[in-house]
Subunit: 351 residues, 4 copies
């Protein structure tokens, strides 16, 4: 914030009608350092943002046409996969830093991209883009030109597992099963029959038994294979990753507390939650809905030589818009927590 | 805020384990002008507030015993009905302003209280206490000693109906039917069989077909009789009042817009939502979950000479903790919106 | 059932992919007197019915093309509004009795139809069709050629109010406010943005503040005006009507019990539920999910001279497919309860 | 059924107020071969069963005191863990067959019981009781005196995994991770704070990260270790087991279809659901709510040499009351499907 209390930076959101576009606008509207210059929407151009996002009715802001981008410090791209790679030159011309919330620039090489997606139009930029999971690689993000904000399920999983590798509890050749449960907002606002309320309500639905694309990010980041399965469950916001891990040697609870505290104890957006009293004894998406926080915890199963790690986030926040703003804060040298201080609500419904 | 950015006032919460106690702590923790001096809890004394309220895990605050109250500028009492009247002397000794969230001091006379509740132990103070619905009577709240924060269902109803009386659309002898739908947080965290998840989920349950005590507040505030029925529905936060009104004479939409704009257009916490486009065309609790906002709207039914008014709030916020903080802001001469700027989330589940 | 235990009648379902089509197939598959000859679907022709309706996976039945109708005793039309009137000649050629679940033949006159819908292509048949709400007009249904199964919200409302007129508690010039809460299945499986899970979950949404088309059926059947408002709430199945009525003269609880018992005590599908003990003290859709039952109950509000009537059904059953099968049973002279004996589940989620 | 269509057998339910007691009453009321002689309840003696279970309001049956048991063919004990072992002599005196729905007689030896529970008062009977999972051991159940109906999470898991052992796909020393998601009815109707609607709604809550007691049943039945974790999710009825398995050698989809078809193709209560089209491509509790069906399916993850097996049941039905009635049918030599033919509902909310 400049001395007069005015925002120090400008930002725009391309793709403002979707759920993550709306979250970006919510965060930027309350961010002390960003002035929103533009929010684009092809289908809702000239309508107020509150027309689409009822929580933003009090904002004096209208969607503009995406063809005419104004110059800003940071451009957030909340567009469907494939759009940013096509428009990356315009985006970079308009903004010093482009933060992309899609999967377009998350993988390092064209070969990886081709394995999981369908042909990249600007593969030479893959290397240039920085994958953003700020707790784990903030040093890469400072001054970055292109930031690829980490995917929701990948973020939950990586945050749960990385400390084990860092602390040497895992060495990379163990079996790792990741069983993820996610809310309906991951599917966006469009939705067909499977996303309609009568068909989607109350499900425990194996929607990606194998082959979910976020597996690619996890394996790239951690450098190991994971067995990854995603279930849709009854919530709107939230991704909960349960990682079942079989360490090669004996591990104590003390080892685990050391590993996780070592990684996270100074992190403003991470809470360790592992078996205390009360109703909320392990990580739960319900406890972090609307926030940029991740809850991480664990339990040991001595009989089966297994370690169970739980990680819970709001997929639209720590798994998307919140992480993007966090990354932008780092990229621009702002305070990391700026604009991301919402505490969350208790109790709240399907998070 | 003082010149050095420090909070200007001190506050305590008596009864910090309940849902509204938790909301007060959330709001005060983010309030620029209040320092939380004390949060009391008999059952959880010495435990962290995050033990009870998982969204507050990052706060460095423990519950203290309610027997030893410290001196503060404002004491918020989030205790069950009947407690504040018994302890009002201690509360007033501890604090210049007592904001009570229970029903103890909402009615003006002992006779009214006896009609709806069971015997008041300090009836001489009823007259002294100020009923708080700041949009409609903020002038009474400045410098108040005892503030009785308005009840959730009453707040939703009064906010929907009052502009019609102020503008002369209603004159007081019309039939008024108020059909309210509320979330499960109104029942608090205790809960018996009817509040258990399997029995409470998915209901449309007439839980107060007649005789709901908030009717007393409404009739006192508006000076008219209302036919009041409350249903429990599947949500956690939220109160939605649908008022079916039969004006004695012809009314146009223009008259209605004038009435509501006249009352609310400068109010920071009220949005008029009446039949625009998009998904959210009328007031909905889902759009205001977690916020201190009320949405108010209306529709005309010419064939039946009926006016339908909709009013939606978060019962824990505008209907309880948010309203209490708003009232305290007014009572202490702080900026009205201080600490109450959360935008809400979209989309969010059962609000 | 014939002497050898075989079904005595044949039936087909036109429009088998929708929710009510699926319910018809479920009911007919368990009906002792009906053999399902055909279930049509343009989009799913040749697929198994279990492909669309997972609860019917064990049925050995495939959708057939709607162009080729086979001869049956009863043809159930579960098609969108407007289809049956266009195809009524083919339907009648194929079946002795056509039971239409759409609104096409519910109103008596072209003038009424034009007031609420858009132009009827076969107005001369309106008079010939029998509106079906079997508890209240079963005598009209015996041997009927065209049966127009009553609409869900109309059914709930009429069942709640009719006994008051029959017993003389109301005489027709009283104010009647009907505040209905319905589940998402009323919108069908298609659904756009407003029906998507993230946008529809947890709502209390005034989706028809005034002018809901079922008002026409109610006013036709009861012969009085009603002030009718419909809210979408968080459930899938269910319609709950709360009728706020102001009788012209004094009414006692005894009068009401007489009125309702007189109407319903021998009805197999109606339960009177009015203020007994336990968790379920008044009618609730949750208690009747999946069944053909209606729960009806009431409460008196002496202070406001108001009578509150509650009526709860499963909109897909008593409000649609169940009512249609019930009507077909009557039309063909079968036992009324045949195929409709499912007790319902407790507890069950959003009904 | 005897020649005159009357029930051939008599049954009683001890512990009729709980959720599974209610389900037993629902099933027995619609069962062609059972007459309900008695339903006991200490707390609700002399009240109608409909007072507790609103779906049973039309039954003419009152709870009786559990002290006076009448003679019946089958006594179903739907009592809390520990009760049946104390009262087993009275139960056996009253009934030729006792079907216990608790865990009291599920394990074979006292040593096993002591490892997972707290001291058995009648260990000599453990050997005599037959564990019931009729699809997999119906031959043991014929004429059984004491039947221990399998636990819900164990049932789902065993049904998913057993065919792999039978077909030799697994040989017993592979890693098996079982990640279960369950509904709130598993906790019963009592419930404390964690089961209250506001705290329980919308959760993905690791409620048994390790050490869930059903692990004992699974390991006893399959003879192998499993790594077992149970999550509470937002539904009322339902248990969904996802088994992540790493076979020692190569496995093809054809091998899997052979294994599962070989085991289940003639089973009336099992559906194989593995990757077909439509919305419901894999097993889901939502598709079987209220039924005695299990859905079982699988997917291969070649990259990680993993096999994922999905199994979904209604925990109150196939996981409890339905399984108990199924077992009783077998024990008494009745038709296996008698009384268990409910198709389920589509769509339905939280199953």
């Amino acid at each position: 914030m400049s001395a007069d209390g005015e925002p120090s930076s400008t930002a725009s959101v391309v793709g403002g009608t979707g759920f993550t576009g709306g979250e970006l606008l919510r965060l930027l509207a309350g961010h002390p350092e960003f002035e929103i210059v533009q929010a684009t929407s092809r289908s809702k151009a000239n309508k107020t943002v509150g027309h689409q996002h009822p929580n933003l009715r009090n904002l004096d802001l209208r969607f503009s046409d995406p063809e005419e981008l104004e110059s800003v410090d940071v451009l957030f791209a909340a567009t469907p996969h494939g759009v940013t790679m096509e428009q990356i030159d315009q985006f970079r011309e308009a903004a010093g830093t482009v933060v992309d919330l899609s999967a377009d620039f998350r993988l390092d090489t064209e070969a990886q991209y081709d394995e999981w997606y369908d042909g990249h139009s600007r593969p030479e930029l893959l290397e240039k883009a920085e994958y953003a999971l700020p707790e784990l690689n903030r040093e890469n993000l400072e001054g970055a030109d292109i930031v690829a904000s980490g995917g929701c399920n990948a973020t939950a999983t990586i945050m749960g597992l990385l400390p084990l590798f860092e602390a040497g509890v895992l060495d990379g050749d163990e079996r790792i099963v990741v069983d993820v449960k996610v809310g309906s907002s991951e599917g966006g606002a469009g939705g067909g029959e499977a996303s309609s309320h009568p068909e989607r309500s109350g499900v425990v639905r194996p929607y990606a038994p194998t082959g979910h694309r976020h597996e690619a990010e996890i394996e790239q980041f951690l450098g190991v294979d994971v067995s990854f399965t995603v279930h849709a469950v009854e919530m709107i916001r939230g991704a909960s990753a349960t990682c079942h891990v079989f360490p090669n040697g004996p591990v104590s609870k003390g080892d685990l507390w050391s590993a996780y505290r070592g990684q996270y104890e100074d992190e403003p957006f991470v809470e360790l939650v592992a078996g205390g009293g009360g109703v909320y004894r392990y990580p739960e998406p319900k406890a972090v809905a609307g926030t940029n926080r991740a809850e991480v915890g664990f339990e040991l199963d001595p009989g089966n030589e297994r370690l169970v790690v739980f990680s819970a986030i709001d997929n639209m926040m720590k798994g998307s818009a919140g992480q993007a703003v966090h990354a932008a804060n780092v990229a621009l040298g702002l305070e990391e927590t700026a604009g991301l201080s919402f505490q969350g609500l208790h109790p709240v419904g399907s998070p």
